[in-house]
């Protein structure tokens, strides 16, 4: 597991553009553009960045599981739109680490993943459960550096 500590504040996750007018979070790999834009900001502050995999390894519409420090794990999803999202991999309804294996889609425009066990829906943007307002899973920051997808944890 490769981790990189980085102290950039979390404000990097906005739709700002740099001086050259490019969105710093759009990375063009050989095949596709990837936009990293979680909807709900994870806690601000310095992050530990974990290398997950090369962006080409991701299948649009499906997820992979990423092992994080401290026995945590993330479910990382690339959507056909080019967006990448990361949620906690634990399905809070079952206690099983399975959200990365769920089917993604959208409900009323909200990007979602359905737990493969009992099919509860979670927003990929916010981590909120669409079937139960009181339940939510954590979201993680995502970034793509030189084609490698990184998941950020608040240090």
């Amino acid at each position: 597991m490769t981790t990189i500590t980085d102290t950039t504040p979390a404000t990097e996750i906005t739709e700002t553009t740099d001086a050259a007018g490019r969105d710093p979070h759009i990375t063009t790999t050989g095949r596709r553009s990837v936009v990293v834009r979680p909807g709900i900001l994870p806690p601000a502050g310095p992050k530990v960045w974990v290398d997950a995999c090369h962006v080409d390894r991701l299948v649009p519409g499906r997820g992979v599981a990423v092992l994080l420090p401290g026995a945590r794990q993330a479910a990382l999803f690339l959507q056909p739109t080019g967006m990448i999202y990361a949620l906690d991999n634990l399905d809070p309804f079952s206690g099983a680490a399975v959200l990365s294996r769920g089917l993604t889609g959208d409900h009323g425009g909200e990007p979602t993943v359905a737990s493969p066990l009992l099919k509860q829906l979670f927003s990929l943007r916010t981590g909120r459960c669409l079937d139960d307002d009181a339940v939510a899973v954590a979201t993680y920051s995502v970034r793509v550096v030189d084609g490698v997808v990184r998941v950020g944890l608040t240090a």
């Binding site: 597991m1 490769t2 974990v50 290398d51 997950a52 995999c53 390894r57 299948v59 649009p60 519409g61 499906r62 992979v64 599981a65 990423v66 092992l67 026995a71 794990q73 990382l76 959507q79 056909p80 739109t81 634990l90 809070p92 309804f93 079952s94 206690g95 099983a96 680490a97 399975v98 294996r101 769920g102 089917l103 993604t104 889609g105 959208d106 409900h107 009323g108 425009g109 990007p111 979602t112 359905a114 493969p116 066990l117 099919k119 829906l121 139960d132 307002d133 009181a134 339940v135 939510a136 899973v137 954590a138």
Partner: protein, 866 residues
């Protein structure tokens, strides 16, 4: 009082329960029901559902050995010969200790003074109230020879078994003599025509003799009769109207020589009497109850006989002197008596004698004042000899009120027209019978118009049920009972649903407005092979967990790509995505394929070794396979490799696809087996394995009629006969069990497989998402007859197409698990973590301390409440 069983030693508890009193404080009383037909059963149901305090104990005496069955549907017994298919729901009162059903027990003597009934087995039951529901017996005209062997009546399941035996013998005899076997039905009423059809189904040429100048003289007039007779002739029924039977004489060759009153002589193999029924009132007559001049136990409007403790209901009752030969009025009488026993004041309101039926596929309906007996009534008739239809409406002398009518050949307007009887017709009444004429909508129907006459459900009750949230046909049937008996009103009920603004949406989900079947046709017609392409042209949004697997299944059914090829990988439901069954802790189970439940010793040893080496929990499934639990996702390829190495493959115990083909032992080992059911099961599983479908599919193959494979609980059930295979379809176990129905009999191997090919391909093409075969058949326009026409007679001309689909499937099948092992890209997915492929998931743990290995759930605290 003599008694032979402790149950009726006196009128106290026959069970161990202590509920001797209701809240009213009255001791529990006993009602004895004589006769367990449809009406007797309805009475028990009505009483038990109203008698919440359990004040009545019910003892039912049934002459027949079967509990109440659907006698109205008696003819449907022909072909399937399955008594259970006609059983009425709940007619054995399971779990109800207030009801005691004594089958095969006939009531002999009623002692009205002692209030007891003595039965054929010599026991005596005391009663506080007696309900006579003995129905009718068939009238057999006393012509010479009417009791010869080979003469039958058409009333009970046993009668039909007798007719079947005689018909089989007759066919064999006729074949030996090189002639056609035939049968004669005496009586051309409704039941006579049903009997004629039964003979036709049994392979006999039917003749029908009717004393009146036309068929169905009670329901149709001369014009309708003429059309009906032509239609029947076209179906191979020889009709002789205006003639009675003069004599029957059995000949040396076992055939019957029948002389008719018009001088015609017929030679026939068997005779079925269906010349009307008479009330079975003997038990009441012997007890001194007042009976009608033409039979029937006379009752008042409360269905009470001349003895206030005795009631009569159904066809045996002459309510205010009048007998009713239909089930609906009998049901009403049953409800009246149930109400009266609980202190109510219900009275019998009279009955509507309208009928609609389908005879040999021909619609016949008559309603209201069909014979125009109302003074001044006007008749408007439209006959179409070419189409074979006859329609007549009877209106009042001012041509404004509909009084009744007759429909032959096409009775689709029946329910609506009948609901207008006694009401003003909107517009020109003549338009009602002209084919280009007005169609009466349901809008104009007042709320108190009865839509379902079997269960007396008004338009108002249906509409208020819809308003209360009954959003589909099944829900409406459940809460109103409409359409649950004959089903004739279902088109109207459906129309009411649609009219009420309930959108009977067939949309798959928010991304596709089309139904699964429509998308299937779109894919077939356009050749689109990607989800994104289909979504771009025919859908909206990004898709979801509903439409993605559905489209994946359609693509799998229309092509031979691997389910994990290219874009399709992203569409598969989680289990299909990992080719295994996910279990509650996120581990998987692997179920090696064992066609027909067959396994070699070496394979069994390998399965055991795999279980041992990967520390898996082992359990034998209900589908004759072995389930290995607790495999982590990264272990799956290694497990499959071990199976592949010894020539096995994993199997689909997941997904919407063929699961297993269950078999019995078959003729190879079993002393009773007549065919090799194991061999057939293995062949069928190999043929259809991997087939993707709207829902899971299960098969069963039994080697003889003992049916040890329980094939009739399966979507496809194959049962051996001494002549080949009987093919049953659309049986389901699980949540809504349903027995499979007979599609075709005595098939050779090749025809059997061809029919199954067509059946499966037709189901895959037309069923809705997650619609199993039983509900699919129920929703199929035209039902079993239509399915049979498509599969066996190629009525739609698509049989070649359907077979080609299956041929492509068989041709394209590959071991899906081995294909993953051979493809590094697909293998990449089977890792625990993308950044630590071999690191086992730290959340997975097992507890081996108890009697069996169990997954330990972390039960992590979740964000927010649960």
């Amino acid at each position: 009082m003599t008694s032979t069983t402790p149950l009726d030693a006196d009128r106290t508890e026959s069970t161990a329960t202590s509920e001797t009193t209701g809240t009213t404080g009255t001791a529990r009383r006993t009602v004895v029901v004589v006769g367990h037909g449809m009406v007797g059963h309805r009475f028990v149901e009505a009483l038990r559902s109203r008698d919440r305090e359990g004040t009545w104990r019910v003892v039912v005496l049934s002459e027949e050995a079967d509990a109440a069955y659907d006698r109205v549907g008696l003819s449907s017994y022909v072909g399937g010969w399955d008594r259970s298919a006609l059983a009425l729901a709940g007619s054995s009162y399971p779990g109800d200790d207030h009801v005691e059903l004594r089958l095969g027990t006939r009531a002999e003597v009623v002692d009205r003074v002692a209030r007891t009934v003595t039965t054929t087995d010599g026991s005596t039951v005391g009663y506080d109230a007696l309900v006579v529901a003995t129905g009718s017996y068939p009238f057999v005209p006393p012509v010479p020879g009417h009791d010869s062997p080979g003469c039958f009546v058409y009333r009970t399941l046993d009668d039909l078994d007798g007719i079947r035996g005689a018909a089989d013998a007759a066919r064999a005899r006729a074949a030996a003599e090189g002639r056609e076997a035939n049968g004669l039905v005496v009586g051309g009423g409704l039941l006579g025509l049903e009997a004629a059809n039964a003979l036709r189904l049994l392979g006999l040429t039917p003749h029908v003799v009717e004393f009146a100048p036309r068929l169905m003289p009670l329901q149709v007039d001369a014009g309708g009769g003429a059309v009906l007779e032509r239609l029947m002739g076209g179906l191979g029924v020889q009709v002789h109207t205006g003639a009675g039977t003069a004599s029957i004489a059995r000949q040396a060759d076992e055939r019957l020589a029948v002389e008719l009153t018009d001088g015609t002589s017929l030679l026939t193999d068997l005779v079925v009497f269906s010349a009307g029924v008479r009330p079975a009132d003997a038990v009441g007559r012997a007890a001194g109850l007042e009976c009608g001049e033409r039979g029937g136990i006379v009752t008042d409007a409360a269905c009470r006989t001349s003895d206030e403790a005795v009631f009569a209901i159904g066809e045996v009752a002459a309510v205010e002197g009048r007998c009713y030969g239909l089930v609906a009025p009998g049901y009403t009488m049953a409800e009246v008596v149930a109400d009266r026993l609980l202190g109510g004041g219900a009275t019998f309101p009279g009955a509507d004698l309208s009928t609609k039926l389908k005879l040999l596929g021909v619609d016949v309906a008559s309603f209201g004042d069909a014979m125009a007996t109302t003074p001044g009534a006007l008749e408007i008739v439209h006959t179409d000899a070419v189409r074979g239809t006859y329609a007549k409406v009877v209106v009042s002398d001012d041509a404004r009120t509909l009084l009744g009518g007759i429909l032959v050949g096409d009775a689709s307007a029946y329910t609506t027209l009948k609901a207008y009887v006694g009401r003003e017709v909107p517009g020109d009444p003549g338009a009602l019978v002209s084919p280009a004429g007005a169609e009466l909508g349901t809008d104009g129907l007042p709320d108190d118009a009865v839509v379902c006459s079997c269960n007396n459900v008004t338009k108002g009750s249906i509409c208020s049920a819809i308003a209360d949230g009954a959003g589909d046909l099944a829900a409406l049937k459940g809460c109103t009972n409409a359409g649950t008996t004959c089903g004739g009103c279902l088109p109207t009920v459906k129309k009411l649903l649609v009219d009420s603004g309930v959108e009977l949406s067939t949309a798959l989900c928010e991304h596709f407005v089309q139904s699964r079947a429509q998308l299937f046709e779109i894919v077939r017609a356009t050749g689109i092979r990607t989800f994104s392409g289909l979504l771009a042209r025919y859908g909206t949004g990004a898709g979801c967990e509903v439409c993605k697997p559905t489209v994946a299944s359609i693509l799998a059914s229309t092509g031979s790509d691997h389910v994990l090829d290219g874009e399709q990988a992203a569409l598969q439901d989680s289990n299909d995505h990992f080719l295994a069954n996910i279990q509650r802790n996120g581990t998987y189970s692997v179920v090696p394929r064992m066609p027909g439940g067959e396994v070699t010793a070496d394979q069994l040893i390998v399965i055991g070794e795999v279980a041992r080496d990967f520390d898996l929990y082992v359990k034998v499934t209900g589908g004759q396979r072995i389930d290995l639990f607790g495999a982590r996702v990264e272990q799956l390829p290694a497990i499959w490799q071990r199976l592949v190495d010894v020539g096995m493959e994993s199997g689909q115990a997941y997904g919407k696809s063929l699961r297993t083909v269950k078999s019995c032992v078959g003729s190879t080992w079993c002393r009773f087996g007549v065919q090799d059911s194991v061999g057939m099961a293995v062949d069928l599983e190999h043929r259809y394995r991997g087939l993707r479908s709207p829902h899971k599919i299960k098969f069963g193959v039994s080697g003889c009629a003992r049916e040890c494979a329980e094939a009739r609980g399966k979507d496809v059930g194959v049962i051996a006969t001494d002549k080949g295979w009987n093919l049953y379809v659309c049986g389901n176990g699980g949540q809504t069990p349903k027995h499979a129905v007979l599609l075709a009999s005595d098939l050779d191997d090749e025809t059997l497989v061809r029919y199954i090919d067509r059946f499966l391909a037709f189901y895959v093409r037309t069923a809705d998402r997650l619609q199993r075969t039983a509900p699919w058949l129920e929703s199929l326009e035209g039902g079993l007859e239509h399915l049979r026409a498509v599969v066996c007679d190629d009525a739609l001309g698509i049989a070649d197409d359907l077979e080609a689909v299956m041929a492509r499937h068989v041709e394209g099948y590959r071991d899906e698990w081995k294909a993953v092992l051979d493809d590094p890209v697909k293998l990449q997915r089977f890792v625990s973590f993308v950044n630590a492929p071999d690191e086992p998931n730290p959340t997975v743990a097992f507890d081996d301390a108890g009697p069996r290995k169990v997954p330990v759930l972390l039960g992590l605290p979740i964000v927010g409440r649960r």
